[in-house]
Symmetry: C2
Subunit: 309 residues, 2 copies
């Protein structure tokens, strides 16, 4: 029944990584070593540990050096900043990432302080205010990985953006706002929605291209989607509600089996039944997630290239 | 006939300046001198000369020191940067402004280079990438003056923003993009339009609050405006076409007399007949223009306050 195109993030991420190979080789020739990323992981958050493991593995797959620096949850902010400064000054690190979230005990401004401390030239996540400002001015070289990955997905999937209406649901510093700016620079007419938006489904239905990044499992249902629209699901949520799983997936599906085995299921912000309406949809998992990591590798190579110059 | 409220920028600008008086006094006490702004004006562009004169006058009216540094049009970019660095290091200057546009002969990246060179703590215009990035992260203290002035106008005129649909026409680094971000942070649902937007009048009609900053005289006509919408006109254009003046203004009006006398008329991006549809409208002149200068004074005081701390 469904005519919905599945936008496979694993395939696109592989294409991005393949395109990096020659550039990694060029950096090796110029610097005498591969591009190198330093990751600082503070504390024992299990989700963070999973993400960081994925980044380390992807780095190895791409021929990069990834140094993982683990600090105990009790580390004072000043010691984290000292570690950042050490990597800023390190001649053998091209890029730096401090895994979010930092332990709550560090205080509400810890991440902001870290992002202000990372050398903008080594800012693998593109969260430094200098890089965010340059993004606004459409001249950033290091850009937030998730929205940059979405742009790569659209480009490599031949999905037109210019002149079309894009709606972004979610206004985070990491996804929503940079996503809106990148779509704007690609000549879309962009609307940003959030928790205070009145009649959100009606606004979302204006979209030819709908990007959802709010962190609420299955929040976007069929009535948010104009028939034929492209829907990009940035959400990553652990679904534990059996009734929802039964409503979403047919009895014999793999997804039901996975849920039965694990008691939870990684799902996005988009109800999977949106595929009955949408023209294209990114799955979760296997949609935007792999792109984020591929773009982190890309940023590391970009940072290394500018050192090699 | 018209029920349209005129949003008087001169009155609001005076209120902003009045609110600065006590803060200027506090800075005088703390630093032993008034807040001080250094303006660098390169070349002989007549419009720039007019703008700068307005800034110098407004500074004097507000009790600030304004140092005007004039450089010939032939000044090399490096010499302009040297002057910026001198003001960065100067203990008697709190804020710095380099008047745009710089002479075209300086090359296409001259302004960007200047904005990257100004100390973010002294960035009176809020154009430094660090301050733009902090604006995205909703923690900027020095923000682009024109959109910040529009926000002040809305606030002081008791015009609700939260939950309403705002449409910004124009995506410049100086007005359109920061305007969209400020409206977003005030909880509007924000759409940004531009030259590539399809069916612009229809998109504009979605707006409860329409901000126009594209630099085309009278571009926004009645069919762009939902009845009752608030329309903010950021345009400043010299109209020289007699037929347009006759179409816009009644025979005995002051505006026609001004045109007859001067051969041109300062007008906005909004056709004045929009007042037949809009619920509120900023005039040109006397709308957004005075707010921009008032917010420049505000930024100078903010920069001085942070030095006084």
């Amino acid at each position: 029944m469904s005519q919905c195109r599945v936008l496979d993030g694993v395939v696109v991420a592989k294409a991005i990584r393949d395109d990096l190979a020659d550039r990694v080789t060029a950096v090796r020739l110029a610097l005498g070593r591969p591009p190198a990323l330093g990751i600082i992981l503070v504390g024992d958050d299990p989700a963070s540990a999973v993400y960081v493991r994925g980044k380390v593995k992807s780095g190895a797959d791409s021929g990069l050096t990834v140094d993982l620096i683990r600090l105990p949850a009790s580390t004072p902010l000043e010691a984290v900043l000292a570690e950042v400064r050490r990597l800023n000054a390190s001649p053998i690190h091209d890029a730096i990432l401090v895994q979010s979230p930092l332990p709550a005990a560090m205080g509400p401004h810890a991440e902001t302080t870290v992002f202000e401390t990372i050398d903008p030239a080594k800012d693998a996540d593109g969260f430094s205010p200098v890089n965010v400002g340059r993004l606004v001015q459409n001249r950033a070289t290091l850009r937030s990985c998730t929205p940059a990955g979405v742009m790569e997905m659209l480009k490599r999937s031949d999905i037109a953006v210019a002149g079309r209406r894009a709606v972004v649901i979610g206004r985070s510093d990491i996804v929503g706002k940079p996503m809106a700016l990148m779509l704007l620079h690609a000549n879309a007419t962009v609307t940003i929605c959030h928790s205070r938006t009145a009649d959100l489904p009606a606004v979302a239905r204006e979209a030819d291209l709908l990007v959802v990044a709010i962190g609420r499992a299955g929040f976007v249902t069929r009535d948010f989607v104009k028939p034929g629209a492209v829907v990009i699901d940035v959400g990553m949520n652990q679904l534990t509600d059996a009734a929802t799983v039964e409503a979403w997936y047919p009895p014999e599906s793999k997804r039901r089996a996975t849920f039965a085995k694990n008691g939870s299921l990684l799902v996005g912000d988009v109800d999977p039944r949106v595929e009955e309406v949408a023209g294209a949809l990114t799955p979760v998992p296997g949609g935007v997630g792999p792109l984020t990591i591929a773009m982190l590798m890309n940023n590391t190579v970009v940072a290394a290239e500018s050192r090699a110059r």
